[in-house]
């Protein structure tokens, strides 16, 4: 499937959790900013997973090890443990002998990234066709990626609260109204501060402040434009975005090409989707660098099998030499809280020092 810059119909792709309030109190001098509080792969789930995973869930490393080596006593470390670790760290697209359960359902969250409705595309639960989300097809039948208690889901939610490393935020400027605006500027930054929470320390509150990380995070800054229609922001694709992503304190990243936001805006927060094409190797290495085989086992995530699926399902950015696709369509659910952004030196791109 060829990629395209065209954005899908935004309104059908957004996970709507509210509407833009009439009171745009946080919008001041045409600016408003939001910091990410949740960011995770968008996985469409039905009750008992019968629709999307009719054959059940995939085995993980523990189950595969038991099948490969039913009597490991007497075998060597090289024949067993290191063999599996080598397969994990030096993966190939060759079959591993295990049947992999891809998502078989019709529906998925996500966006139509390429403007085409291909056989491998999903249908949005709202009825929109051509949804590109092959990461979902790969991970949707792995329990570790399913909410609310999958190991990846839990760790990522926790990490985004605990560390500043993945403190990504967007700032909108030139905004006339959070309901409708033909063109707004959108900037992507990393923040330097902890999230403002309520007294429990668990719930992120709007109204915090975040200093822009213009030092360590300078290479993460991106700019694009977008428009707001009926309270929904849709941005133009950003060619390449690096998202700092760690869940177990290894400083890894995701590399998303043609990344765009579709967000339901409100004065106190924003909710919606981030979508684009994830670089497959970067995606995979992010997973296995943060999650040891033990952690993968807890989520029944076989890195070995999953890598082959990602390669098989990759649908964009063919390698100029081999022709093999290097990127895979994806969508992430994102939740954001409104923040006041403090720019270094009080200036940013000619803008105001503090977004208020």
């Amino acid at each position: 499937m060829k990629r395209s810059a065209r954005i899908a119909v935004a309104a059908t792709a957004v996970i709507l959790t509210g509407t833009a309030a009439a009171d745009d109190g946080a919008l001041r001098d045409g600016r408003i900013a939001y910091v990410m509080t949740n960011l995770f792969w968008s996985v469409y789930q039905t009750e008992d997973a019968k629709d999307e995973c009719p054959r059940g869930f995939n085995d993980g490393p523990r189950e595969q090890f038991a099948k490969l080596f039913p009597k490991p006593e007497g075998m060597t470390v090289e024949e067993t443990q290191l063999r599996q670790e080598i397969e994990t760290w030096h993966p190939t697209s060759e079959p591993d002998g295990f049947e992999f359960y891809e998502v078989e359902g019709r529906y998925s969250w996500g966006l139509d990234l390429d403007g085409e409705a291909s056989p491998e595309d999903f249908t949005h639960p709202d009825g929109g066709e051509g949804i590109d989300n092959q990461v979902y097809r790969a991970v949707g039948c792995i329990i570790g990626f399913r909410g609310p208690d999958g190991v990846e889901f839990i760790f990522q939610d926790k990490a985004i609260m605990d560390e500043r490393y993945n403190r990504m935020m967007i700032e909108l400027s030139g905004v006339d109204s959070l309901d409708n605006d033909d063109e707004v500027s959108v900037s992507l930054y990393r923040g330097l501060d902890r999230l403002l929470t309520d007294a429990t320390g668990e719930k992120v509150m709007p109204g915090g402040s975040q200093r822009v990380d213009a030092r360590w995070g300078a290479s993460l800054i991106r700019h694009t434009t977008g428009r707001i229609v009926d309270g929904v922001l849709s941005t133009e694709p950003i060619p390449e975005v690096v998202i700092p992503w760690q869940n177990l304190r290894v400083a890894s990243v995701h590399l998303i090409r043609d990344l765009r936001f579709v967000l339901d805006l409100a004065p106190e927060g924003a909710t919606g989707l981030v979508a684009g094409y994830a670089d497959v190797d970067t995606w995979y290495r992010q997973l296995i660098r943060n999650d040891s085989t033990h952690h993968l086992s807890n989520g029944q995530i076989s890195g070995i099998s999953l890598y082959k699926a990602l390669r098989r399902l990759a649908d964009a950015y063919p390698d100029p030499v081999t022709g093999e696709n290097t990127a895979i369509s994806t969508a992430l659910d994102v939740k954001m809280a409104q923040v006041f952004v403090v720019h270094p030196g009080g200036e940013q791109d000619g803008g105001a020092g503090v977004t208020r």
Partner: protein, 453 residues
């Protein structure tokens, strides 16, 4: 016993002259070294200054002493309970299954050359007439021999250490819960007042408060005068000495104003930084004129190396700016033997760096080569010869040996997956996020991943 053979061979090779010469050299090249508090020691035992770990206890031959603390693993414990030696001369043959998901009972690599625990960690034996002193006690091993213990932990030396002041067997740096059960050098308490602490970091022995807040000094101050007043004082908070505190050693007291007394270390009034985001921070050192305080700095890295900014913080890099990585490894035996040194089995490392193929390892994780004119400048940074086909140290005069930089006598690497300076895509490669059989970046500062204070 095999342990006796190993010990004897090493002693013959190192003790006579080199031992004494090296001890003098260690003191001469560094400094200032960290001062310590005197504690009672067994006769002949002493304290040695070290480059990375500060003062450590050494036996009467100057060999650094290590303990093996009990360490919780995923499926059990390894290390030693108080007063209970667990390191013996048996060669263990199978895994202990301490780290999930792999089961116990799997045959360990290279059994024909696998050392026993005491081959690598000779016990610190006590003479028949030795008597406990202070926190030093004597425990009985199961063969009836007597072994020194400190604070109830049985003590060992390391065959990796060749000279007094070496700490090649282990480090005091904190290690994570999924790390192997490391051996740790022990030493006397640092000579700091109550309310302060010292921690081994990649940049040196960092002085902190006992709440792990970094301690800073200002170049505009004098031993008897603080020039941090007003607004400065709100950002950098003077570390106040209690009314009963008295000067001692390198520590003096400055009267900021009547009744307000500030600690001064080596002539520098001390502060914490109000805007530090996390413990052991270096953020205050970004303020002009301010710097972290160390009891001793880590030895300088090789002159050809560089420091690169990344999206995490600063990392050590080679002369091209490519991130430097250190290999870490401990096996899953009950002994938790190391596999991170060129003299250890290379089975684990080769699996991780090249899928078992030494040539792929050289391609994916190349050694940091030393130029012909470069030589090691310290105990910490050295140039060693490596046999590229095996990963072991090369034999003398081996024609195809390569000269590589080593940190603590272990080679360092770059990663082929890093495309440009500042990339750290190799960090966390390997088992347990690179902690047990894998590679970690050589972080000098990781502001964005330190967690809350």
């Amino acid at each position: 016993m095999r342990s006796a053979k190993f010990l004897s061979r090493r002693l013959q090779a190192t003790l006579p002259v080199a031992w004494l010469l090296a001890s003098a050299a260690a003191v001469a090249q560094g400094g200032p070294f960290e001062q310590w508090l005197d504690v009672p020691m067994p006769p002949g035992f002493r304290v040695e200054n070290t480059e990375l770990e500060g003062p450590v206890f050494a036996d009467r031959d100057g060999r650094t002493l290590y303990e093996w603390p009990l360490h919780v693993q995923r499926n059990g414990y390894s290390g030693e309970s108080p007063d209970t030696p667990a390191c013996y001369d048996e060669v263990l043959t199978v895994t202990a299954g301490l780290m999930s998901p792999y089961p116990p009972g799997i045959v360990l690599p290279e059994l024909e050359t696998r050392p026993s625990c005491t081959d690598l960690w000779p016990p610190a034996y006590a003479d028949a007439d030795a008597k406990p002193v202070g926190d030093w006690s004597i425990v009985e091993r199961r063969d009836g021999t007597r072994q020194w213990a400190y604070a109830e932990q049985p003590l060992y030396t390391s065959v990796r250490d060749a000279e007094p002041g070496d700490t090649l067997g282990g480090s005091k740096r904190p290690y994570g819960g999924d790390s192997p059960a490391y051996r740790v050098p022990i030493g006397p308490p640092p000579a700091v007042p109550p309310g302060f602490a010292v921690r081994t970091t990649s940049t040196g022995r960092m002085l902190t408060t006992d709440r792990n807040d970094s301690v800073y000094a200002y170049e505009g101050d004098a031993p008897d005068a603080s020039n941090c007043r007003g607004e400065c004082e709100r950002r950098f908070r003077p570390l106040l000495a209690p009314a009963l505190a008295r000067s001692f050693g390198e520590w003096t007291i400055l009267a900021r104003s009547p009744g307000v007394r500030q600690w001064v270390y080596r002539g520098e009034p001390l502060y914490t930084f109000a805007l530090d985001e996390h413990s052991w921070s270096q953020q205050g050192s970004d303020e002009p004129g301010w710097h972290n305080v160390y009891t001793q700095k880590a030895p300088p890295f090789p002159a050809s190396f560089t420091v690169q900014a990344t999206i995490v913080g600063d990392v050590l890099a080679d002369q091209r700016g490519m991130t430097i990585y250190v290999y870490q490894c401990g096996d899953d035996s009950q002994d938790q033997l190391s596999c991170d040194h060129p003299d250890d089995t290379q089975i684990y490392r080769l699996a991780m760096c090249g899928g078992g193929d030494p040539k792929r390892c050289l391609e994916y994780w190349p050694y940091v080569r030393a130029a012909d004119h470069e030589t090691g400048g310290s105990r910490t940074w050295s140039v060693i010869g490596i046999d590229p086909a095996t990963g072991h140290k090369a034999k003398p005069e081996q024609a195809d040996a390569i000269r590589v930089w080593a940190f603590r006598d272990r080679p360092i690497y770059t990663y082929a997956g890093d495309r440009q300076p500042g990339d750290t895509h190799g960090d966390g490669t390997g088992e347990w996020r690179g902690q047990r059989n894998g590679l970690r970046g050589f972080w000098l500062r990781n502001d964005m991943l330190e967690g809350p204070r």
